[in-house]
């Protein structure tokens, strides 16, 4: 296992919620074969808040997409909550996502023709429940992210920060096993970004959610319990990273 824990090195005795074993992703681009992820091993315990960092093309978003079940590995195993999701059919994987994953996008990706309330309600329509129960869940989610008073607003009537709050409410409304975020603060000003990261921290600490985010922003990554660095599809050990950083610092002549 190649985990790089910047905050603590305590290992959970229980089996990890997410287990990546020799996880590999390759795809063809013209005549070339690209390998954004190479035989990666990673354990993520339940309740973890993990930040993935690395330069562009390092494979962090690929890893996030694989964990979120919106992409398929080319090799290795990806076991989440005891299910090897790499073996699920396309439709089963869609069902699995609807139950186990909440996705927060950089550009919020709200449906513009639906109100904030309806956007949050969207994932719940994939589950059997009464309209009353659905209403209760949507209201709770909107209240939790502090946007209940804007429930009847359309995305175009909301600020970026408010849109991202709605997107987070949509991600948590089904009470998913994991919440993933691809640059969730990438399109926000500093104040809004702070508020969103505080909200995500609360999801982890107060509700015990497992969060994985991809970010370029060290300030956002600092909210996570631990940060992993990827380079060329592999995890980079903290020591290696520190050495590499030192070597890039200009030496006095």
């Amino acid at each position: 296992m190649t985990t790089n824990n910047t905050h603590s090195r305590t290992l959970s005795p229980a089996p990890a919620l997410i287990q990546c074993r020799r996880l590999t992703k390759t795809y063809k681009k013209g005549d070339n074969t690209i390998t954004p992820l190479q035989e990666l091993d990673l354990d993520v315990p339940a309740g973890d808040f993990l930040a993935l960092m690395g330069p562009s093309g390092s494979g962090k978003t690929t890893l996030l997409n694989l964990i979120a079940g919106i992409d398929r590995p080319s090799g290795g195993n990806l076991i989440i909550g005891g299910t090897d999701i790499a073996t699920l059919s396309r439709s089963k994987l869609a069902d699995w996502r609807s139950t186990h994953v909440g996705y927060v996008f950089q550009l919020y990706n709200l449906v513009p023709v639906l109100t904030a309330y309806e956007n949050v309600e969207l994932p719940l329509l994939l589950h059997s429940m009464s309209a009353r129960e659905r209403h209760q869940k949507v209201s709770t989610a909107l209240e939790l992210v502090g946007i209940a008073d804007r429930h009847d607003h359309y995305p175009r009537q909301l600020s970026g920060g408010q849109e991202q709050r709605v997107a987070i409410a949509r991600a948590i409304v089904t009470d998913p096993t994991i919440i993933v975020g691809d640059e969730p603060t990438g399109d926000l000003d500093q104040e809004s970004a702070q508020a969103i990261m505080n909200l995500m921290t609360r999801l982890c600490e107060d509700l015990g959610k497992t969060l994985i985010i991809v970010t370029h922003d060290a300030k956002s990554a600092a909210y996570a319990k631990r940060t992993l660095h990827l380079e060329k599809g592999r995890l980079v050990e903290a020591a290696d990273l520190a050495a590499r950083r030192e070597s890039t610092v200009p030496q006095p002549v």
Binding site: T61, I70, R97, T99, L107, V111, L114, L125, L126
Partner: protein
């Protein structure tokens, strides 16, 4: 499989009003065309079918079964027939035996001779014609009289259409010129749903004089349906037997319905051309629709990726897209059907036999609506499939 809310499909229509307008208008045009083609074919078929009387038999010259205009039979035939065949319908002692001359001649409105002549079906008739052709009723004026000093005609309700003039030009009292000779309109008649309405009727004797012939084209008789209990009435076979006993007359009997049915099949290729033209334009419209829907769907590929990331299956998303497209085309179809029913139904169309009205009936409306729905489904599927082809990560990166 859980579906996207219907509301989502409805609201997506409002994203681009111009695109919505194009979809609705495009579908409306295609459906309207289908209605015109359907109304044309139905109108023509029904007009020809309805022209034949249920108990009427037409006797014409052997070898002229394809067209009564080419037929010539002795002028004495009606008298011989009435005396020989039992069971011909009578009223107040008058037999339902109508000697007729059918001829297509150039006709112009007025007497100036400046207007371009149009070929019109003229029918020389005796008063018995009013008996055998039950659908014909005089709506204005009076029956034309032969040799009354002035040459007189009555015109059908669609005479104006056939002659390419306003109805006011063919009112009672106006004149028409037949083959260079002026005739006065003394009456107008209707024969709903038949091609007879496009004809000009004149006295038999005048017609024979005008066409310089001493023969008639045909005899139309109405039989009393045969009653087994009383032994009264007659069947087609009785008339057929008569023609066999008088080979010298060289007659061929045909039920009037069979005759007009054959004419209808003669116009079969025209109907095929009407359908093929409508079909080809519909296919053209479909390609336009495909383009519009592709533009609509392609502008939200990222959203389609998001819906998949949330957990919606691709089939559910395709279904929503079909709903969206079908709503637009169905709206276009409904508009076209309303236009068809209120503006096109009954509109007169000229053809070689005269004229008929477009028939926008339930069957044609049904076909129009089905076309609208089919346009929606077929128009949505290829763009939907294409826009859902990228993997979710690729779709999420779409601009």
């Amino acid at each position: 499989m859980r579906l996207l809310p219907f509301d989502y499909a409805v609201r997506n229509l409002g994203r681009s009003p111009s695109r919505l307008f194009l979809s609705v208008a495009g579908a409306a045009m295609v459906v309207l065309l289908i209605l015109v083609a359907g109304g044309f074919v139905r109108g023509m078929s029904q007009a020809l079918r309805a022209t034949g009387g249920e108990h009427n038999v037409i006797l014409m010259g052997a070898g002229s079964e394809e067209s009564v205009e080419r037929s010539e039979i002795p002028a004495a035939t009606p008298g011989v027939l009435a005396a020989s065949v039992q069971g011909i319908r009578t009223r107040a002692g008058v037999a339902y035996v109508s000697p007729e001359v059918h001829v297509m001649l150039p006709v112009t409105v007025g007497t100036g001779g400046m207007a371009k002549p149009r070929q019109v079906m003229l029918r020389g008739v005796s008063p018995a014609a009013a008996l055998v052709h039950e659908s014909v009723s005089l709506t204005e004026g009076r029956w034309p009289v032969a040799g009354g000093g002035a040459d007189e005609v009555i015109v059908g309700r669609m005479a104006g259409t056939v002659l390419g003039v306003a109805e006011s030009d063919v009112q009672v009292g106006r004149a028409i010129t037949i083959d260079g000779r002026p005739w006065t309109i003394v009456g107008r008649f209707s024969a709903p749903g038949t091609v007879v309405e496009a004809e000009v009727w004149l006295p038999l004797a005048d017609a024979m004089t005008a066409t310089k012939r001493d023969t008639i084209s045909c005899v139309v008789v109405t039989l009393d349906p045969y009653n087994e209990a009383t032994g009264e009435g007659a069947e087609f076979a009785d008339v057929a037997a008569f023609t066999k006993t008088r080979p010298d007359l060289e007659l061929v009997p045909m039920t009037e319905r069979e005759y007009y049915g054959k004419l209808a099949s003669f116009f079969g290729p025209i109907k095929v051309v009407a359908w093929v033209t409508a079909g080809l334009i519909a296919v053209g419209g479909l390609f336009g629709g495909l383009n519009t829907m592709y533009a609509a769907f392609a502008s939200r590929i990222r959203e389609l990726g998001t819906l998949q990331a949330i957990g919606y299956r691709r089939l559910a998303i395709v279904w929503s897209m079909i709903q969206e497209s079908t709503l637009a085309t169905a709206a276009g179809g409904l508009i076209a059907c309303a236009v068809g029913v209120f503006l096109l139904d009954g509109v007169a169309v000229r053809f070689s036999m005269g004229a008929f009205g477009l028939k926008i009936d339930e069957a044609v409306i049904g076909l129009g609506l089905l076309t609208g729905l089919a346009l929606g489904v077929v128009g949505a599927l290829p763009p939907a499939i294409r826009c859902l082809k990228p993997t979710i990560p690729v779709a999420l990166k779409a601009v």
